[in-house]
């Protein structure tokens, strides 16, 4: 990321130490790669190339295998999330109650596609499958906050709360 090269590096260093500790504490390294990646994503927020390489080295497996796993599971991401990650539920219940239009409106308002982050790093947009609050469909999550029964014309006012 371009915003501050040096401070990201500093943060990373501490993060890598934490991750190393986590891996060293494992009882069994075989088959642990998914839980290690969960931990790594918890620390760094995403899984860039250098993190994947680090995990591969520590677990003594090829980096291609780590990449294969990261790209396979939708929970893992290689792009940093925005300061306020927005997730629009696209479970079937939300879909039939108009979630697609809400998602389209977010895309238009932020001028990004699903899986992308705005240039200023403020918002990222994701579609996720069922948060289980189907009574509130369509559901939008901004960070931890849940918005229920969202209509496209509410999108602008939701975004305004974070500006």
């Amino acid at each position: 990321m371009s915003n501050c090269e040096t401070c990201t590096n500093k943060l990373s260093e501490r993060g890598f130490r934490e991750l190393e500790q986590f891996i060293n504490d494992l009882d069994e390294k075989t088959g642990a790669v998914i839980s290690v990646l969960h931990k790594a994503q918890e620390i760094f927020g995403y899984l860039p190339r250098e993190v994947q390489q680090f995990v591969a080295n520590k677990l003594e497996i090829p980096v291609s295998k780590v990449y294969g796993i990261v790209s396979f599971y939708s929970f893992f991401t290689m792009i940093p999330k925005g300061e306020h990650p927005i997730s629009v539920c696209m479970g079937t219940a939300c879909y039939v109650r108009g979630a697609e239009k809400v998602l389209d409106e977010f895309k238009r308002a932020l001028n990004i596609e699903v899986g992308e982050t705005t240039a200023d790093g403020k918002f990222s947009l994701d579609a996720l499958r069922c948060v289980g609050a189907c009574g509130l469909a369509p559901v939008v999550l901004v960070g931890e906050k849940v918005y229920g029964r969202v209509t496209p014309d509410q999108v602008k006012s939701i975004l305004k709360e974070y500006e």
Partner: protein, 597 residues
């Protein structure tokens, strides 16, 4: 000893928590304390009550009062009026839509009348974080009975006799599955609980784990005893943080009470459970893929045989059951297979939990005996279609299932009937659709899902679902030909017959089932470039009717792209070039002056 005279139960399921129910708990406690009643009245959060549409739910016992859509600030009036003065708060009571009368007792609500709670027996009844409440409700008695009074063979016999079939979708007899796992020799065996609920729109497994985690812990231990395994694993979605937290607590408490660990209840039987986190892959619901994922690999399925019962986790005999299946096990052992046999239809015994959602009045989690008809579920329990619209179809079985229509409404729901109708039970998602839902679009929605979730290992699924969703995209844009529709059918059948695993084989079901029942709708898209449901934006235009528009400007204010022009009190016009067909103006107009065609 507790001297509480009243209990206030607040729903702590994900839906209600999203609507701030935990704040209600805090506020209630504070107001109760202010009134000096903290030793008389207990406030606790429970699992899901099921009536998610009207959440957050607060229930007061022993008078069994059921409050709906409670806000944190309502805590004060509940305490002052109901708890202190004994007067029910009418404005928070549920009003039956048909009679508009307040109902103060959940037993008299249409939503609950036809339900029967077996798997959900403790959800919304006990505090899921409190093992003592679970024990008070006969918790771990079934495990005790199995360990002390029954041989493993007898446990399996009882399960076989009960007729319980796997609730994850397949419907395979559970007792038989256990027997295979028992008969296969191995120095180490495993019990796996599949809690990777991936069907978008299904949340029954999550609700059980959130509302009654101990029932799963107990059932897994029973299964371990029956098949000869001392280790259990729960494979759970990382996206379910609340369920994970409650399950972790349940496992920890069970260990402390000696109900997990070495020599349980002095029977010589050891068993412990570990949690494994999924990372978001629908295909991991397939048992071989799930096992590979637990081993830290990509979650790709492998061909069966060998079945996991022979060679599963790390090549050892492994028994995989789904959450809801496990939830039934302790009750069956306690009340007996004969009791369980009396519920349900000839070939599908017991109850089934459904996540009822979509265009229905009462969205929620319901449990009904097998054999209940769709009509009872949708119209009696579900309260009918939202906004008085017409029922069009109900989708069961998620991305692997199909649509059932008006003429199937009186079919008793069970595994075999749903299959015969071209759908399937699946894990229990039930999405209701009304006249505004376009069936090719629904099929496209599911195919985009399976295309996205296809693991890519076999060609029919990897390429086939992609081509299917492209063809469906053409249909919804009015660009398809009749040959394309033919191709949709042929390709669907090919994928069904040739894909490697269950996900691929069932992926075309949403297409086949909607083509079969809504052929005319497909043809209208192709031949007339028309979407009868008025949903496909590419085939739609919005117009303002001159004679009805009063110039209130509501539409132009709501339009996100400024496509509507017109002065106050004069007729407005939509610029078709600018219009993005979002429908915001259509929804906003109070005078029905905007039409789509």
């Amino acid at each position: 000893m507790s001297r509480y005279k009243m209990h206030v139960l607040v729903c702590g399921g994900t839906g209600c928590v999203s609507s701030n129910s935990l704040q209600i708990v805090d506020n209630l406690k504070n107001h109760i304390k202010e009134n000096g009643l903290e030793n008389d009245i207990q406030v606790l959060k429970t699992g899901c009550f099921g009536f998610c549409e009207k959440g957050p739910i607060v229930k007061i016992l022993p008078d069994n009062t059921f409050y709906v859509q409670v806000k944190p600030e309502d805590a004060e009036i509940i305490v002052k009026e109901h708890l202190v003065k004994g007067r029910k708060v009418d404005k928070l009571l549920y009003k039956e839509p048909s009679t508009e009368k307040s109902i103060d007792d959940s037993k008299h609500m249409e939503f609950y009348k036809k339900q029967m709670r077996v798997a959900l027996r403790n959800c919304g009844f006990i505090d899921p974080d409190n093992i003592e409440e679970y024990i008070a409700r006969d918790g771990y008695q079934a495990l005790g009975k199995a360990l002390v009074e029954m041989t493993p063979e007898l446990v399996i016999e009882e399960m076989k006799k009960s007729g319980l079939r796997g609730r994850g979708g397949g419907g395979f007899p559970t007792g038989l599955k256990w027997e295979f796992a028992r008969k296969n020799k191995g120095d180490q065996k495993y019990v796996v609980c599949n809690a990777d609920e991936g069907d978008p729109g299904a949340f029954m497994d999550r609700s059980i784990l959130e509302g009654d985690p101990h029932s799963i812990v107990e059932a897994m231990a029973i299964c371990g005893y029956a098949i000869g395994a001392d280790k259990g694993l729960v494979y759970i979605r990382a996206e379910y943080p609340l369920a994970v937290k409650r399950l972790e607590k349940a496992i920890k408490d069970a260990r402390e009470y000696g109900l997990l660990g070495k020599n349980i209840l002095d029977s010589g039987f050891d068993f412990d459970i570990e949690i494994k986190y999924g990372a978001g892959a629908f295909v991991c619901g397939e048992e071989t893929a799930l096992i590979h994922s637990m081993e830290g690999e990509r979650g790709e399925p492998t061909t069966k045989p060998p079945f996991p019962a022979e060679s599963g986790y790390w090549g050892k005999p492994t028994n995989v059951n789904n959450v809801e299946t496990f939830a039934n096990v302790p009750v069956i052992l306690l009340k007996g297979a004969d009791w369980f046999q009396t519920i349900g239809t000839e070939k599908s015994k017991g109850t089934k939990v459904f996540a009822l959602a979509g265009k229905i009045n009462n969205v929620g989690l319901i449990e009904v005996p097998m054999g209940t008809t769709l009509r009872e579920v949708i119209f009696d329990i579900g309260g009918g279609i939202k906004d008085g619209k017409r029922f069009k179809a109900v989708q069961t079985g998620g991305p692997s299932g199909g649509c059932l229509t008006e003429e199937d409404l009186d079919t008793p729901i069970d595994f075999d009937n749903l299959l015969a109708k071209g759908s399937m039970m699946g894990s229990g998602g039930m999405i209701v659709m009304d006249e505004d839902d376009c069936m090719p679009s629904v099929a496209k929605f599911y195919l985009e899902f399976t295309e996205d979730e296809s693991c890519g290992k076999c060609t029919p699924c990897r390429i086939g679902t992609k081509r299917l969703s492209e063809l469906l995209d053409k249909v919804t844009k009015g660009q398809a030909t009749m040959e394309d529709l033919e191709m949709l059918k042929v390709l669907s059948e090919t994928i069904r017959d040739t894909a490697l695993c269950g996900l691929g084989q069932t992926a075309p079901n949403p297409v086949l089932s909607t083509i079969e029942t809504f052929w005319d709708e497909y043809v209208a898209h192709v031949k007339e470039n028309r979407c009868p449901a008025g949903q496909c934006t590419d085939l739609l235009k919005y117009f303002i009717l001159e004679e009805k528009c009063i110039g209130c400007t509501a539409c132009s204010r709501v339009c996100p792209v400024e496509a509507i022009s017109g002065k106050v009190k004069s007729v407005h016009v939509i610029d078709q070039d600018k219009c993005i067909k979002c429908g915001a103006c259509y929804d906003k107009c109070k005078f029905s002056a905007i039409i789509k065609k």
